[in-house]
């Protein structure tokens, strides 16, 4: 237990940053769920919008990846 206060702060910060990934999970679920409910109402239009769904997933997921990256930076690079 000889570690310094900076290290402790970094670890706590990394843990807190990981909560951001939950937001990304909610976002991705929201995108896919809404796509699915729309697709079940109008299945003929669903095929053309799959690409749009993946773009939406990518944008939502990128923010979760950012928080993961912050966690990694705090763990290994600070």
């Amino acid at each position: 237990m000889e570690g310094d206060i900076v290290q402790m702060g970094a670890y706590i910060g990394a843990g807190l940053a990981c909560t951001g990934m939950g937001g990304a999970a909610v976002g991705v679920g929201h995108v896919v769920g809404n796509f699915l409910s729309g697709a079940l109402r109008n299945p003929s239009a669903a095929a053309g919008q799959t690409a749009t769904m993946f773009i939406g997933i990518a944008f939502a997921e990128a923010l979760g990846i950012f928080s993961f990256l912050v966690a990694l930076l705090l763990m290994f690079a600070v």
């Binding site: 053309g48 690409a51 993946f54 773009i55 997933i57 990518a58 944008f59 997921e61 990128a62 990846i65 950012f66 993961f68 990256l69 990694l72 763990m75 290994f76």
Partner: protein, 251 residues
Amino acid sequence: MASEVQSEGGGLVFQPMDQFVVKPLFGDGSIQWYTVTNVTLWMALAVVAIVVILVLGTARRAMVPSRSQSIGELAYGFIYKMVEDVAGKDAVGYFPYIMTLFMFIVCANFLGLIPMSFTTTSHIAVTAVMAMAVFLSVTLLGFVKNGMSFLSLFWISSAPLALRPILALIEVISYFVRPVSHSIRLAGNMMAGHAVIKVFAAFAGVAVIAPLSVLAITAIYALEILVSFIQAYVFAILTCVYLKDALHPHH
């Protein structure tokens, strides 16, 4: 840090980032820009994989395709249709560039899933170069094709006049964030998945939780196979979206 955890946690060895270390293939010297490293090896293997899929697989030019030939044809048709649908009919001239990016990313991602391999696309340096190349070429293309009217991309004429400067500011910021998110998305996804697998692998050192750990690795591995393809697809489709903005900047 690894040694620290080892000393504190007993048998557990967490080294999730060791797999990403760039090492010279021959000898132990310092890494110059020309040094043959594991980056070189796995990029070369990606090239070999692409040659096998797209060149050797289609070498027979069969009318009724064999399995390997239909993989190549499926990849071709998939990306071609995506470019046509997303970026427009006049963008098919840029199809070889997007195909190059997609095939490289998808092959590198899947090669990175082989145990003990090195994932080239998990490095910010690699993805940032590709994203910056897309960003710069798309911006240049926009100015060459549309001249100064390319700037109307940021001036949304359908919005109320009072809101337009604010929207323009947001649009400009989001435009310049594009290469950052474009590159970090791919590298972050690859890095995260592989690091998580390594963390679970380290837990397998304890006999009691080893079966759970192996199960978790299997599940994450399946997810990673999906992610490998989806990230390559997303990289290519976002390139198409940016290309569409450059060719048709008017909303």
